[in-house]
């Protein structure tokens, strides 16, 4: 069984620093693997534990430094890595990103069974790339996937968590799933995994390798653009810190929401 896991390098959003002009300071911000893509990798490794002959390829579109992230994926148990990197890919929205990734899959890995994405990336938080890739490859998708119920050569049965409850779905391959947080402890790199990762040859592909042209990718290939970006305002400018419970209780009463007022 051939599994592709889409992973993305993102700035650590829990540690954002602002410049004096209220723009995000990009220098010195650590890049991490998108937390949901760590779950996507875990999901793939869980399938590998349950089924025979599972081959996992981690794939990313990003700058050359993303090579390092792919090696980390190999160190925890992935078999190969594909890096889609080209200056022309810069500024892609989710449409152009999914076009680039799906085109690479068509060219270099059309015989996949399952594609696994994170539910969303913490920098953009759109949750769109996965379904867009599925749409471009014309394969079914299941989003908000929590866990694996069952897995065999032809299909996977998963538990999906939605607003309304839990659904158990059986999906025939080829298909794409977007996964939520996994409950197991994250897999640690193994010694022979680290050695394998150092030796691995990451397949690096640029725009012409995947037979796209500059109108299809990056800013030019993106139907959307950002017209303005600004720091989220703090809506609560007048804070009042109470010194005791009675005072706080009075403030609560003044909010005018208590029933018997």
């Amino acid at each position: 069984m051939k599994i592709l896991v889409c992973i993305k390098q993102v700035p650590d959003t829990t540690d954002i620093k602002w410049t004096e002009h209220n723009t995000i300071q990009r220098e010195g911000v650590e890049s991490i693997i998108n937390p949901f893509d760590v779950y996507a990798l875990e999901f793939a490794l869980n399938i590998k534990k349950q089924c025979n002959n599972v081959h996992i390829i981690a794939i990313t579109m990003g700058p050359p430094q993303a090579d390092e992230m792919l090696r980390k994926a190999i160190a925890i148990g992935c078999d190969d890595g594909i890096l889609l990197s080209d200056k022309k890919f810069a500024g892609a929205d989710t449409y152009a990103t999914s076009k680039t990734i799906s085109q690479a899959i068509k060219k270099f890995s059309p015989d996949f069974d399952l594609i696994i994405c994170g539910q969303f990336a913490v920098d953009g938080d759109t949750a769109q790339t996965g379904p867009s890739i599925a749409s471009k490859l014309d394969i079914p998708q299941v989003t908000y996937v929590k866990s694996i119920e069952n897995c065999d050569e032809e299909s996977i049965t998963v538990k999906k968590e939605s607003d309304y409850g839990i659904e158990i779905l059986k999906i025939k391959f080829p298909a794409l799933v977007c996964v939520l947080q996994q409950d197991n402890e994250p897999t640690r790199p193994l010694i022979n995994g680290i050695i394998k990762a150092q030796k691995a040859s990451i397949k690096t592909l640029n725009m012409s390798d995947i037979e796209l042209n500059s109108d299809d990718v990056g800013i030019k290939g993106s139907p959307t653009y950002v017209s303005k970006a600004f720091r989220a305002p703090n809506k609560r400018s007048e804070k009042f810190i109470c010194t005791n419970c009675n005072e706080l209780f009075e403030k609560i009463c003044q909010c005018g929401v208590l029933n018997n007022e």
Binding site: T13, T14, I16, I24, T94, Y95, V122, D123, D125, T126, Q128, G130, P131, S132, A134, S135, P140, Q141, V142, T143, S162, D163, Y164, G165, I166, E167, I168, K170, I171, L180, P223, T224, Y225, V226, S227, K228, A229, F230, R231, A232, N234, K235, R236, K239, F240, I241, C242, T243, N244, C245, N246, L248, F249, K251, I252, C253, V257, L258, N259, N260
Partner: protein, 336 residues
Amino acid sequence: MNKNIILIYAEITPDFYIHTVVFELIQKAIELSKSLENPSIELIMLTPQGLINGYKEGFENNGVDKVYVLENEKFRHYSTEYYSKTIIPIIEEIQPEIFLLGATNQGRDLAPRISSSLHTGLTADCIELQINEKGLLAATRPTFGGQLMATIICKNKPQMATVRPKVFKPLENIIKKETQYIYKEVNLSSINPQIELIDIIKKAQTTINDLDSSDIIVAGGKGMKSKEGFELLKDFANAIGGTVAASRGAVDIGIAPQEIQIGQTGKTVSPKLYIACGISGAIQHIVGMNNSDKIIAINSDSNAPIFENCDYGIVGDAFDIIPKLTNLLKQKKYKF
């Protein structure tokens, strides 16, 4: 002259209600339509056979011009395959300028599938929609975990956006307008479904609905330490007439269920009063509750970031403060 159509996806819940977000989107569409020439507000709705008459009353006098109705027994449960393959050709035919969906699990599953097929852009989880000076949809959304706002324009049509429930207010005024119903033929025979629904386990609907409709939410974090800590919150919530919610910190240590998690990976709420107990106030939590009218913070650490995001706060031990507040509430009740 061509109509400027704003199309809205009318999501139906598993118990066959129209999702509240649909009415919030209609209200927003009415506002947007004021900046468009010759506007038309239209809905697209997929339902099992025979239910549409029940919905008509809900759409009466709320400013909707047209409802496209697609009826089929297969629409009893949401399915990405059937829904997207039915909707895409209809959108190509209607050619709306703008297409809006709720940023529910369903909307977020369906919208990118449609936008990708139609080769257009999609802006997810918007908190504001406006028509700019060029007549285009300017959609503002939080990124970087809510810290950075970005206003996004789409070059192609339809300009698509999803909006989380509870971000816009639903319709208040009655708008006298006759709504036209257009029944479209549905043919699903060419679709060979690759996904089979084996089982559905419905959530205890109450917790979700309660959080959506509650005026008061009492939320607990990791600082509530144990299930007993959450019992204190329940007593307090009962006394004040509110509903209990949690941060991911509390969910992660197993003292609260995931269904009641508020935040980036949980629910978005906007009650009149949000009381955060033992919650540090991480940005991923704040984005889920920042639309509340008033926020109260109870935390033992005076440097906790939650104090930057509250109206009233108190520095102290929640295990001491909450029972006291519960008592004060009970005493107050006896007075009446």
